[in-house]
C-alpha cells in the first residue's frame, strides 16, 4: 500500500483516538479544577490532622509516577477481587479519568495554595474593617486576584496534561498513541508502519497551540489590574 493509500485510513483512526484523548483531557480538567480547590483548603486547614493527611496524600501522588498510579488504580480493584471499573474501553476510560483527576487535582491544589496565600493579608483586613463577611471577601475581593496569579502556572500544567494523557496507553486506553501504534502491529491491512505513531505528535502540537493562544488571551484579559 502506498503512502497516499495509507494516509486516509491512518488519519481516520488517529482522529478516533484523538477524540478519546480529548475526552480524557476535558474530563480531567472538569474534575481536577474543583477537587484541587478542596484539597488546597484541606492542606491549609487549621485542623492539623486534616492538613497533615492532605499533605501526605499530595506527597504520595506527586512523588510517584502517574504511569504507576494508572496501573494501580486500574488493576488493584480487580486483584482485590472486585473489578469496579468494568471491562472494555469504557472501564479503562473511567479508571484513567479517576487516576488523572486524582493526580492533577494534587498538582492544582499546590498552585491554588500559592495563589491564595499570595494575595496580601491586607486585602482581607481591608474587607473585614469594611464590614464584609469572609465569603464576600473571598468571592468579591480575593478570588479574581487569585485567578490572576494562578493562570500562568495553570497554563503550564494544562499543557502538560495534554501530553500526559498519552500515559493512559499503559492500560491500553484507545487514545491517539494507541491508535498510532496499532499500525505497527497491524490494523486495517496496514502493518509494520511506524510513521502513524510519529504523526500523533502533530495532534498534540496543534491542540497545544490552540490552548496556548486561548490561555494567553485569558492572561491578557486579567492584565487590566495589578
Amino acid at each position: 500500500m502506498t503512502f497516499t493509500e495509507q494516509f486516509p485510513i491512518v488519519f481516520q483512526s488517529l482522529n478516533v483516538g484523538f477524540l478519546q484523548t480529548l475526552k480524557l483531557f476535558f474530563v480531567t480538567l472538569l474534575g481536577a479544577i474543583p477537587l484541587g480547590l478542596l484539597i488546597s483548603f484541606g492542606s491549609m486547614s487549621r485542623f492539623k490532622p486534616l492538613s497533615y493527611l492532605t499533605k501526605i496524600i499530595v506527597w504520595i501522588v506527586r512523588g510517584t509516577p502517574l504511569m504507576i498510579q494508572l496501573l494501580i488504580i486500574y488493576f488493584m480493584p480487580g486483584l482485590l477481587g472486585n473489578n469496579i471499573w468494568g471491562s472494555g474501553e469504557s472501564g479503562r476510560f473511567i479508571a484513567a479519568c479517576a487516576a488523572f483527576i486524582f493526580n492533577y487535582s494534587c498538582y492544582f491544589s499546590e498552585i491554588y495554595r500559592g495563589g491564595i496565600q499570595g494575595v496580601p493579608s491586607g486585602q482581607e483586613e481591608a474587607g473585614l474593617v469594611l464590614g464584609m463577611t469572609k465569603s464576600q471577601i473571598f468571592f468579591k475581593v480575593k478570588l479574581l486576584q487569585m485567578i490572576k496569579r494562578i493562570v500562568p502556572p495553570m497554563s503550564n500544567e494544562i499543557i502538560t496534561l495534554v501530553k500526559d494523557t498519552s500515559l493512559s496507553r499503559i492500560i491500553a486506553l484507545q487514545e491517539v498513541i494507541w491508535a498510532g501504534q496499532s499500525f505497527l502491529k497491524g490494523n486495517q491491512g496496514i502493518a509494520g508502519v511506524i510513521w502513524p505513531l510519529f504523526f500523533t505528535a502533530v495532534y498534540y502540537l496543534i491542540f497545544n497551540g490552540i490552548l496556548t493562544v486561548l490561555l494567553g488571551r485569558l492572561e491578557k484579559k486579567l492584565e487590566y489590574f495589578r
Binding site: E125, V129, K140
Partner: protein
Amino acid sequence: MAILEVQHVSKSFGNTEVLKDISFTLEKGKVLSLIGSSGSGKTTLLRCLNFLERPDGGVIRVNSETLFDAENPETKQESEIRRKRLHFGLVFQSFNLFPQYTALQNVMLAKELLEKEKPDYKARKKEIHAEIEAEGRKLLTQMGLSERMDNYPHQLSGGQCQRVAIARALALKPDILCFDEPTSALDPELTGEVLKVIRGLADQETTMIIVTHEMAFARDVSSHVIFMDDGRIVEQGTPAEVFGDPKEARTKQFLSRYTQG
C-alpha cells in the same frame, strides 16, 4: 459625653505584652493623635479598636454601648463583630485598595454589599445603586479625585490611592475614623496632599484617631495627644501640654529627636 471609652485594655502576643492597661476617652468631633516610636503598641491599639485583634483584657465602649468587655463573653460573639466593626473605619499605611476595582468601585463595594442584605434591596435596587454611586462620587470629589474615579489603583499615585482609601472608609459613615500611619508609605510631596485631606476632615469635626510620625501635623490637627512607649500610655493631654511642656523624661527624649532634626 465621650463617643469612645477605652478602659484598661491589654493585649499580649505569646509572652510579649504589647498593650498594658490602656485607658483613654475621646469626645465626638475631636481628633486624637497617637505618637511614639515603632513597636510601642500604637498600631495594635488601632487594630484592637477595629476588631482585627482581640484584647486580652479591658473594655471598649462607643456611644455608651459596650462593644467589648473581656469579662463578658457575650461581647465576644463572632456574629456581632461585623456589626461592631462598622463603628470604626480604618485607613491603612499600605492603602490596601482592591486592585481589580476602579477608585469609584472601591468606594462603593462595601456599602453595596451591606445594602444587599437588607430586605427591601431587590425592590429598590436601581435607586439604592444610584444613591451609593452619587455618594461615592461626592466623596471622591471631596478628596480632590473627580478626574480619577474610573482609574484603577495601579494607575494612581500613592497619595491618590490613600485618598481613595479615605473615601472608601468614609463611605460607611463610621463614628470614628482611624488612621494607621497614613503617610508613612508616601514621599514628602504626596504626604502633604493626604495630610491636607485629613485636616479638612478635622475641620468638619470628623472624630478621628491618627497614628502618625508627623509631629508638626499631630500638634496642629489634634485636640488630644497620647504618647505611648513599650505598650503603655506614658503621657496624654492637649498638644500644647504634650508637645510644649512634656512632663515625662521619656516623652522629652522622644520629642527631642524630632525637634533636633
